[in-house]
């Protein structure tokens, strides 16, 4: 029983990471039709700069941890905004070229990160409490899982409130459904494009800092490896659906944990198998309307 609980909560923690990456991917795709391959680089850069700031501050304090998360969010939002303005916008509506540009950006930035920080993992130190465990019904749960889950819930809640309660949220929801008609009502939808990139980048940057604490290190490849699972999550959840991304993140990560433990490390396969099943049964994903 305690093993099941441990796997479940660890899965939720990993799912939280997936969601932080997938939420931005899904919103960007839903509104703009752009598959953002550079999203992993937003995450990696957030993680590195979060670490750079943290190591210059007091080691292991909560303030340092909080500041590094904030740095990750700001860095992610900034590079994402620049990417949208400088590379995506000039190729407006040319979706394939937009994807290609983000592919080039991801290749170039990963190489650049390797040049700056080296290819070896850099170990990160967080508040002592993160490395401790909490006893829940007999299961010893590493505390960083709770932080991840809390962060993802806060981001999810923030996004939902933003989408439901603000004018830009309204524009984004309408734009995901029918972009052309939004402009035909006199709304400049392009500003919303920059905004979703910034929001997605911020979530990825937060995810980067948290991922470095979850894995215990940061490396130039950290973003790319999470990105692949985030892609799977967005397809399973339904492209463009935030709720779908949230549900699929949890399903994928929990399945992965259980399969890794009970089925001899086959977690990654089970995830791809799940993807295959979803494609066979419902190609649009759990909550998606377009494929």
């Amino acid at each position: 029983m305690s093993t099941v609980l441990l796997l479940l909560i660890t899965g939720l923690g990993l799912g939280a990471l997936y969601f932080l990456v997938a939420s931005g991917l899904s919103l960007i795709y839903g509104l703009m039709g752009v598959l953002n391959f550079a999203h992993g680089s937003f995450l990696t850069l957030g993680a590195f700069l979060g670490w750079e700031v943290a190591r210059r501050m007091e080691d292991g304090s909560w303030l340092t941890f909080g500041v590094s998360i904030l740095v990750g969010a700001v860095v992610g939002a900034t590079v994402a905004t620049l990417t949208e303005l400088l590379l995506i916008r000039p190729l407006y509506l040319r979706h394939i070229e937009q994807v290609l540009v983000t592919v080039g950006l991801s290749l170039a930035t990963v190489a650049l990160f390797e040049g700056i920080w080296g290819v070896d993992p850099i170990y990160v130190v967080g508040p002592e409490w993160l490395n401790d465990t909490t006893d829940i019904a007999g299961a010893l749960i590493p505390n960083d899982r709770f932080v991840l889950i809390a962060a993802a819930l806060i981001v999810l809640l923030g996004l939902v409130v933003f989408l439901k309660r603000t004018r830009y949220g309204l524009i984004i929801r309408a734009g995901v459904e029918n972009r052309a008609m939004v402009t035909a009502l006199g709304v400049d939808v392009r500003r919303a494009f920059t905004l979703v990139f910034a929001i997605g980048g911020a979530a990825a940057g937060i995810g980067g800092v948290l991922a470095s604490h979850y894995f215990g290190y940061v490396s130039p490849l950290i973003g790319g490896s999470l990105l692949i699972f985030a892609f799977i999550v967005t397809v399973i959840g339904g492209l463009g659906s935030l709720t779908g991304a949230a549900i699929a993140s949890v399903v994928v990560a929990v399945l992965q944990q259980f399969a890794n433990f009970y089925l001899g490390g086959t977690g990654d396969f089970m995830v791809v198998a799940l993807l295959a099943v979803v494609l066979l049964v419902k190609p649009t994903g759990l909550l998606g309307s377009k494929a």
Binding site: L100, A108, A111, E114, F269, V272, L279
Partner: protein
Amino acid sequence: MTMIRRLRTSRLTPWVTGGLLVVVVAVLPLLDISLPGVLPGSTYTPGTLQLLAFAMVFAALALSYHLLFGVAGLLSFGHALYFALGAYGLGIVLRDTELALVPAMAVVLMAAIAIAAALGALSLRVSGIAFAMVTLAFAQAGSVLVRRNPSVTNGEEGLPLRVDNIPAELVGVLNTRNVYWLALALLVVVFLIVAWFERSRAGHVVAATRENELRVRVLGMTPFRVKLITVVLAGGLAALVGMVYLLLQSGVTPAVMTADFTLTLLVIVVLGGVGSRWGAVVGGVLYTLLDQRLTALARSEAIQDLPEFLRIPLSEPLFILGTLFILVVVLLPGGLAGVARRSLARADTARARAGRNLDEEARP
């Protein structure tokens, strides 16, 4: 002058040029030509032949990817899977069985085709960007399979080639030129198959689905089937290329199965010009040479002595290639083939204008 123009406009011209080019490339190992800065040594040295053979293998692989992306308009992020399947499959069959090279290749090709058909049928249930993501996921599963089963694949170490059952002419540094010719033959064969497919009925239909799927449906053909045929053909060709790669490299590592490897193919095809066979070939060769030269450049003193903010980016070949790729996408739609086409067209109009001016001057 008129003869030159007639030669250019003839439909046979590219084939004649191509044939001549093949002959030139075929005799290179017998010649002693040095191109400092482009090739590491003279054309008969094993190092240079190895590099050129690599370039041709990459060109052939790029051609198979051109079928998917350039002809069918399918953006796949998992094409490396079939290449790796060929390389690993042949390596494993040669190690674990006593089959000779050709039967072993046939077995692996069959397996690759079967897998391409199964995965293709599944991933073609979605289109566009979702197709890209799904192919990526399948390739990732393959990559994990290779890394997690060291007893079969030798894991991160990579799988060495067991040479017991392959012809002695293809083994060893001294025989590099034989493998070079094999790579050339592969490139020619793949080029001809791709050209033949593009001219076939299925090729025309799949090109039509790229432009307008609805219209193909209206014409009573199923886009799904022709796309699947394309995916299977591209996968089979990639596996074939992977097998030659194994022979050339005397082994294979999991690096050829990563998403980055497929992205490299995408870079090559876009660099050369999407939709252009010659673009894929030129892109493949150019990329291999650039990659090799940039790596050499990164280690050179000229770069190592630079201040940090220049040294770090310039000593990363992939950074330069990635940046170059972005610039091509943004500034040069159509890639190298597009540039060539535009300059030819410009030369033609210039000539036409010059001709008209002459006519006007000739009038009283």
